[in-house]
Symmetry: D2
Subunit: 338 residues, 4 copies
């Protein structure tokens, strides 16, 4: 249940109202929009007399029951689009951002070369994995701390904000200077990690798990928002199905559906979705058209020698050529890159 407050209610009155509600045994949280503040109740609210609360509290404009299990991420609770500030680059609300870079940071030369090239082509954020989740214990697992250091060096060289994946909460201190913390598909339901990034002060890029429904994705985002961090970007990256000619099946329906249900921005990763270099461009174009707020595209200076995910990485020239095309499409949609 939510109570939408009248405009310009003083803070002390809001707190008094929350306290009154909490004394009845509910948790509450505030969702603050540009015009309205909303008080949201968590718990079994079936027995609450909503109308009498509205009548007895003159700061309340109206109440509404929220039937979905997710509250803070719910567009009903917070109708305006959330804008995420990723190191100065805005994701959401009319902007369209392109995150690009290698699957793994492999060396200083590699990450800086890729960073400079993708920036020149028009990418607005840099990705690069330092901690890599790998199916086999014997595969390359990233450069760890050194990878983070090199990524930050590439940021310094190019000015691009950086996105990189965290694998467990003990790594958080290493992410102090990272602009966006990525939670990968396999960790989408690592609930303790979600809570911890919810208490941290950095934007989070939350990827959909390969067997998770959209409702589960929204509830995982709810873990983060319910701890106080509303800077969350959702990412569709393909789900696991019976079809075996692609690595995963990209579910582009997820984009308009998520944007109906939540105020959070939604981006698309066509590289992991397909696992095939040739599909990255057509799927990226489709993602722009379907209404996404951005793309995450793997690029490598030498895909044939990449230590991970080479088969799905574009080389720098392919990325440049794709960007030229995407810029026109972003304009066509009335959105802005940068």
């Amino acid at each position: 249940m939510i109570f939408v407050l009248k405009p310009a209610v003083p803070r002390f009155k809001i707190e008094a109202f929350r306290q009154q509600i909490e004394e009845q045994g509910f948790q509450t949280f505030l969702s603050t929009g540009t015009e309205h503040t909303v008080v949201c109740l968590i718990g079994n609210t079936a027995a609450i007399d909503m109308e009498s609360i509205v009548q007895n509290n003159d700061i309340v404009e109206y109440g509404r029951r929220v039937t979905e299990p997710y509250k803070a991420v719910n567009r009903t609770v917070h109708p305006e689009n959330t804008m995420v500030n990723a190191g100065g680059v805005i994701i959401g609300e009319g902007m369209f951002q392109i995150i690009s870079g290698p699957c793994s940071v492999e060396s200083e030369e590699q990450i800086i070369k890729v960073a400079q090239s993708v920036k020149e082509s028009g990418a607005t954020l840099l990705r690069g994995g330092a901690f890599k989740p790998r199916t086999s214990p014997y595969a390359f697992r990233g450069l760890h701390e050194e990878g983070i250091r090199l990524l930050l060096k590439a940021k310094k060289e190019t000015g691009l904000p950086v996105v990189t994946e965290i694998m467990n909460q003990t790594q958080l201190p290493l992410f102090e200077d990272i602009d966006v913390i990525q939670i990968g598909a396999r960790n989408m339901q690592n609930f303790d990690l979600l809570r911890e990034v919810g208490r941290f002060h950095k934007p989070v890029l939350l990827k959909r798990g390969m067997a998770n429904t959209l409702e589960e994705l929204l509830l995982s985002a709810e873990y983060i928002l319910s701890e106080g961090n509303n800077q969350v970007i959702l990412c569709e990256r393909g789900i696991r199905t019976f079809e075996n000619s692609t690595r995963n099946t990209l579910d582009l329906s997820a984009v308009p559906l998520l944007k109906q249900k939540t105020h959070l921005p939604v981006i698309v990763d066509p590289s992991h979705a397909s696992g095939l270099r040739d599909l990255v461009a057509p799927l990226a174009k489709a993602a722009v058209a379907v209404g996404a707020d951005g793309l995450m595209i793997e690029t490598h200076n030498d895909p044939a020698r990449a230590l991970s995910d080479g088969a799905q990485s574009l080389d720098l020239r392919q990325f440049q050529s794709l960007m030229a095309d995407l810029k026109q499409r972003i304009s066509f949609e009335g959105k802005q890159l940068g």
Copy 2:
């Protein structure tokens, strides 16, 4: 294995060559492109000495082993895009066609009203179900022969070529004046039906089964082509996955992948894929961007009272507004509607 013939080989020499191959125990078929004719061998060709055949037959330019199990639909065998002539409207190769109309033909008034409206909005073919496959035996199953008659009346009124679904081969005589015979998802592996439409003289719209891989779809098309009918349009309409917020999961990766592997045109049905009216527009836009050759979109003059699939049907005004947008996108892609 295929043998690509030199240009302008006289027919009798081709037939002599085929006969020579068939005497060695193989089936053959011809695939005729604008420049080259290809002789394709079916059977276990492992033991054939391809090079000596090339050297001993001066009509042969070169030979190639085709490793995929599908031959006639294979782009290796027939590199040019196939154009399907659907009652005068061309599908494939730079054209983009939009098939629209109600799930079921319900009455003369309904089908003519919808046909006139979608034509005015820019649709280039009319759809309407006369024989409806329904999960429950107690649901509305279509008007049958009367539905076909009404559809043909709408064709006469508007000039739009018509597409309608066949459910079994005994119905074929009723399809003499239909422009495109649709084979639905549940019949994609009804192999006897595929053979029969392969012997019929009408274009076939073959929908992907909800649990079928792209290779299986291509092999089902191969059934039709191997009987002599190469006027086949493939249709992606969503696959069955664990995600339950949409009716099916639209697999847009299928479009560029199919277009790599086959010369047949590929269209997309966002209505059945999503089952949700609000998703039809964004998915239609994505389908244009991903490289499809057309769309199939359900429309109804009164969706709330539709006898089937109302929840996913656009009303006539929504369709008109979507068409205005799609026309710009089709131009953007350098394709032509009509």
Copy 3:
């Protein structure tokens, strides 16, 4: 909605009651158990005053609303287990039957050799495909009419009732002497075929489609029963999932769930489910334990040379050894083979 009649109501009174209901615009059908006859109504019964019908018709014991979309197959409507008489062998209700034989009938020698051997090992019905649905148009498709003839010869030699697959309704006249008509997974939603076998006078073995829910399987059975044929056996044979180490994923939960929801017998096909010879025995044992009414197991006199499905076929000795084990398990469950 159903009305359960009092015992021993004369036929003419039942017909009068049905007529009275049908005059209100509903279809009805009778479901006849050993003690009670049930009149079942099809259509939107929301507005019917059930209680007043019970009070005004003294032949009615009580009424009940049936919320599931399937009626005739519903255990609520027909609480006793249905027994199917397959050429003298009873399937269901305390019996456990084993159908065995080759994927395809390949020759007289082969089918008779296999039939004699599986009979000796304890199989109670013989299977053998004459019309084979094959993914590729170039694969072996069965001996057709000749296959049926050979199967009937094997029946004559051994006395085993025979089960074979139909692919379309035009083949029905060939099935006059077949004991059980099989509808394969790919035809589970070939609704016209379902209707036709519903009007035919032979038991039907209906396999679950590889992407079909249990509710859809029950509705396909409903097609057959609603045409008057209640001699239907359901068969779980694996569903399509992301797991690729088996051909399909056998869903043994389907057995107890189906037996809760319907009165029809349920058997299991571990051969098609797994596609792997080594898994047939453990899955067959599990099927006995989970409560199935029978098994369908592919056997071949020479699996390495089988024209179809060799990799999943047991040889005759492996089948003999499995049968020795299964007989003990069938006894353990208190069921009877034969």
Copy 4:
């Protein structure tokens, strides 16, 4: 690649051999069976001349290439069944163990009551969740440290070894007195956690992820074994499919397939697989028959009031009755409980 050593080779010779191999740039690990020790090489071994290594090292009996990506868990590398010692109870190799208890530890009274009852019925290990992964941040998440304390109290009262789930590696110190550490389905690919439990000295129960293949499950187990802990039990608990009448689809084929590929014991959890109380008994029976080494079954003293998973929990009387049946089945299979 593996090298199987001759019997009774002194330790120093083994170490010298490993060092020689590692100097060529490979990792190695030892797998010690009752008769043979095996040296396993990790890395790209394509260029190694296996035969010359065998000839030049007289402690080596023979070499073999291991094509699967998993090595330490591979039955080729370690042919004997692994027996896991879970607080004195042996899992694997002719034993059949039953783990039972509530989804969550809710109170001292509850866990002790359930523990005493399931012990009396014949369960051989006690389960109870202290840290609960929940889809929603607002659901009951367990009693945490207090839950562990109560579980250990129940262990003291009944003598049953205890199994409980860990959610992240920072919790490990709390698991010092726990007998088996469970890694849940959502954490199957939490690779950092797998490494940490691989370095800990406790048996691990590793559940299959709901969208993970068997090969991925084996590779996750490989993470644990490669760190030195070979006390791993695999658990099939259902995978996510399109079927929605059960919570998951139990994949019983996984049991015989896993037992072919690995030496680790495999158990089955019918409670989470089905999510339906009525299916637990038939699926448990099937799991015994299919060759599992044990079962994990949720029980509760008052399922209707359970704080989690009540719908799939048996009450204590239902469990008692199921155990009476299962004991006979375990004997039938020639296995031993306890």
